[in-house]
């Protein structure tokens, strides 16, 4: 019988995504309920040493698919790698972080193996040895619990929701090669261009400062960027200002932008439209700065400041700097 959890570990350019470590840590936790072992699978070229950093997250085994064909991401080669990984360990569940790579890959492999998939899971429940997946739907206006009726099921986990648990002791586990043929590659990534802008990726940031139409104009981004720098935060934006051409779409939070779940989300001059809330209402703490006391965003904010954000944000930046100077 299939048992245990296989975790797909995403790496790009020699760096493992933090969200993959969250998925691996959560798999360790859930395997206590679901039973069986946790196996981590990493795919790439020259990723052996990266694989060596995984045992401290408590997998029972690390599988490595390594080869020139896997250097750049292609759906086809990576799908072959993951499908072979599943065949070799026959897990009951496959976990991955819900990233742009996962959105391209995981459901394709699920279809190949005729298995169901639930995306963007934010919580687990259990029934005997079975996991149930809970996730927001309808822009966070409803939550759905899914149950599986299948020997194999795939799940992607929302980044920044689950905690990374690493062992400080020396932990060892077998690290094994898995030979996989890349197969027929129908499309492949030929170039990757790093974007200017956020040094910290929005979906992984633990603090986000976002600006909307209330910041008045693109000339005022530095006001928000200073607060970002003081807090070590990433800069987000509403769709209204992206559409107005004030900032690149990669900063957009919301239904047609990114879904984020930081510890702290500071919304500056953002009205709180449902499509914006959809992208950020699972944040732990929400601060709203808005000059309209009746703005919808205040209904969702943990703390609200009624005021002009161009006046409040610089003051907040100074206060944060003072706090850090005193520590």
């Amino acid at each position: 019988m299939a048992e245990g959890i296989l975790v797909f570990i995403e790496q790009r350019q020699g760096k493992i995504r933090k969200a993959s470590l969250e998925a691996l840590s959560e798999a360790y936790k859930q395997a206590k309920t679901a039973g069986g072992n946790v196996t981590a699978l990493i795919v790439g070229k020259d990723v052996k040493s990266l694989a060596g950093t995984l045992p401290k997250y408590h997998p029972h085994k690390v599988l490595v698919v390594d080869g020139a064909d896997f250097e750049n991401y292609s759906t086809d080669a990576y799908a072959n790698a993951l499908a072979e990984g599943v065949k070799s360990v026959s897990p009951k569940y496959v976990f991955a972080a819900n990233t742009s790579m996962a959105k391209d890959l995981i459901a394709r492999v699920a279809a190949r193996l005729d298995a169901p998939c639930v995306s963007d899971v934010t919580d687990f429940e259990s029934e005997g040895n079975n996991l149930l997946a809970r996730r927001p739907q309808f822009s966070g206006k409803a939550y759905t619990v899914f149950e599986f009726n299948s020997p194999l099921a795939f799940m992607t986990l929302r980044p920044n929701v689950f905690a990374v648990q690493e062992s400080s002791n020396n932990v060892n586990c077998p690290i094994e090669d898995l030979q996989v043929a890349a197969g027929d590659i129908k499309a492949r990534v030929t170039e990757t261009h790093a974007s200017a802008g956020n040094k910290i990726e929005l979906s992984e940031a633990s603090i986000i400062v976002s600006g909307g139409r209330g910041i008045k104009g693109p000339e005022n981004w530095p006001v928000l960027q200073n607060l970002c720098d003081a807090l070590g935060a990433a800069l987000g934006a509403s769709r209204a200002v992206v559409d107005a051409g004030w900032i690149d779409h990669q900063h957009q939070v919301g239904q047609t932008g990114k879904t984020v779940s930081p510890q702290l989300y500071i919304a500056c001059g953002i009205s709180g439209a449902i499509q914006h809330l959809a992208g950020m209402n699972s944040s732990k703490v929400i601060v709203a700065i808005n000059n309209n006391p009746d703005a919808e965003i205040f209904k969702h904010a943990t703390y609200g400041i009624v005021g002009d954000c161009l006046d409040v944000v610089p003051k907040l930046t100074e206060e944060i700097k003072k706090l850090h100077a005193n520590n």
Partner: protein, 260 residues
Amino acid sequence: MKIAVCVKAVPDTESKIAIAGDKKNIDFNGVRIITSPYDEFAIEEALKLKEKNGGETTVFSVGGAEATDVLRDSLARGIDSAVHINDEEFAGLDPLSTAKVLAAALKDGGYDAIFCGQQGVGGDNNQVPVMLAELLNMAQASIIVKLEIDGNKFKAEREIEGAHEFVEGTLPAVFSTQKGLNEPRYPSIKGVMAARRKEIAVKNAEALGVKGQFTVESRKVKVKEMALPKERPLGRKLDGDADAQVKQLVELLKTEARVI
């Protein structure tokens, strides 16, 4: 060129959401149904491709009666023909089953390019397009913001975390579309009138040769329960002038919320 578009009928994103009595779905009473916003980019890209290369465009939707208006909307924008895939057995399908039904409808069509939205809003699965690509054994480029097609080669751009990547491949392919790809046109009055007169082909499970394959019992993933989110505890507006509010905020973030 033969071009297909898949569209999903979904609740308007502004809708107030209530849970149905059986707690397995939302209550569709009084909910306005629209074409999933991402599918508008798929329709537009199909129309642009036809304008450039010639050919024909067909739109498909799996759904109940609500899908009719959505298919008419596609026709009104300029899509040539529409197929409504409707059967009681298809009610409430999960993404894998939806992809299988679509694959059954599309597999013998000889399509060079199939356009989907990157996500059907509401369900928010991001699954059907890449599952469809797998089932049809086609190349894919998902969540794309730019596409060039030259002969049977394509080059697509996708936004990934902190970067843009370029995917090159060979047709036939499935593309899933993201905001930024194009500016969807609105239906013209003339288009709306013409769409009203067009016939929408209807296919059921039997016509697709899949009767009995998608019964509720056979589904591999089911909704156990739906619920409204827990209300966030009512937020606190801070008092005093800007200086006082900022001082209070920093204190609360540090000692109460412990996030800085």
